[in-house]
Amino acid sequence: MSARGIGPSRATRWVVAVVLIGLFLVPIVSMIEYTTRDGSGGHSLVNWLALFDPANESKYRPIWVGLGNSLVLALVSVAIVLFLLAPTMVLISLRFPGLRRIFEFLVLLPISIPAIVLVVGLAPIYLVIGRTFGTGIWTLAFAYGITVLPFAYRAIQASIDATDMKTLAEAARTLGAGWPTILGRVLAPNLRPGLLAASLISVAVVLGEFTIASLLNRQNLQTALVVVGKQDPYASVILSLLALAFAFVLLVVIGRAGAARRTSKGRS
């Protein structure tokens, strides 16, 4: 079903594609060129090697600490998505379909509330958390769980919509399964593409988060990039490039998960 008659001509299509792709490649090419400058006008991989040189360990330590912190945060945020958000969504779809509208409104709300606004209100809350749970980095994941809600919700809801939840749940119950079994062994496998996509996008969002960590004085990957970038911009640009490549791989995997979902839906 081609859109003949309204689609652009081949030439137009190519001109637009080449111009736009070209413009969008300029900063990426610039980053690559920038990281390969050797300081004397030539180009080499000296900056890339320096990043992994043990001699520079103390200089780049904030980055590795930040990366470690960000990975912990990603893990806890994914746990919040999988063990708090997902079961609640299943419960809503099975038992409280009337609540779906208001639930959707609530979980999409973080899109409309800028992180910088949230930070203003989170500051006093994290004072209390600091006193009760300590200032461990993982506590920040409570805030990150909120920022990933809209993305995770959409991914999981797509899977819920594509699955005949009630029939599965009723069938499992008829066969004597309890709710933990139904959730973990019947429904979760069916929702796997959505759960996977939600987890991956949560990881991507958490690894890219700067606002909340920075203003609550916590160290994560992004705040470390800024700190190190002040003395050594090369390292920060290199890591930005790597992060971009990593995000692209994540998104391609999410795309694959989505494609798998479509084909499995087609089979049923």
């Binding site: 008659g5 006093p124 911009p233």
Partner: protein, 310 residues
Amino acid sequence: MTILAPIESPPGATDAGTDATARSSRRSGHAGVPAAIGLVPFALYLALFLALPTIFAVGSGFASDDGFTLDNVLALGDPVIVSTFANSIGLSALTAVIGAILGALACYAMLGLGEGSRSRGLVEAASGVLAQFGGVMLAFAFIATIGLQGLVTLWLRDTFGIDIFADGAWIYGLPGLVLPYIYFQVPLMIITFLPAMSALKPQWAEANLSLGGTRAGFWLHIGMPVLAPSFLASLLLLFANAFSSYATAAALASQGSQIVPLQIRTALTSETMLGRENLAGALALGMVVVMAITMGLYALVERRAARWRR
């Protein structure tokens, strides 16, 4: 085991997609109290980390040591703060319009590429990455491109003798945010506008042609009117996106607070504004108002746009 009470299923409630939403808005029986307990943890979580911070943020705009005050909200009328809001709104509007036009152009160029085609899948994946690529990393990308030692800066200087920073290092000021913002606005436009563009039906074009219409006539009388609400909705989303963005500006503009999020940073961290610690709350309140208006308009326009996507 009490939660194993029979599940009332309204006919067809398990159908995929929007039908389910429409039908399920009808109340479907009474769910038992024990099942409702399952909702409590998530409700508590939302209350503690979404509702409470928002209330604190907005509420602190009205708070002082002696209780309720309007001083901080009145401080929003301060010329400096008014101009900061103007900067923020201007920057967001400018980059939203440019991003929307470029993004719509890209969607137009992709018209006719099949839903599952390889090149379209790639564009969608790349757009997804670049739309998320905001933040600190984007600031570094543009420092490498048009920074004082950036590739494009040096190229323009050495090849054409053009010094783009002849009038000062604008990249670290408000104008320096325009290009980075456009860089994440265009991909976001592609993601949000492509579905609307794909919903244009080839039959409409055929009907137009067989009735003697021209291609230009199709766009003028059918394509653009049908797409206008979707375009406007995406534009509003882009505006909201730029308006709430903080990280790129924070990493790029190390001094000054040219836009509202940076002003909030100053208000939160600065000690010179003693006695004004609730100014951050008032600024947050201002942002929430702008965002609420934008997203409210978005919801209105989107409802109209959805009409053509059935």
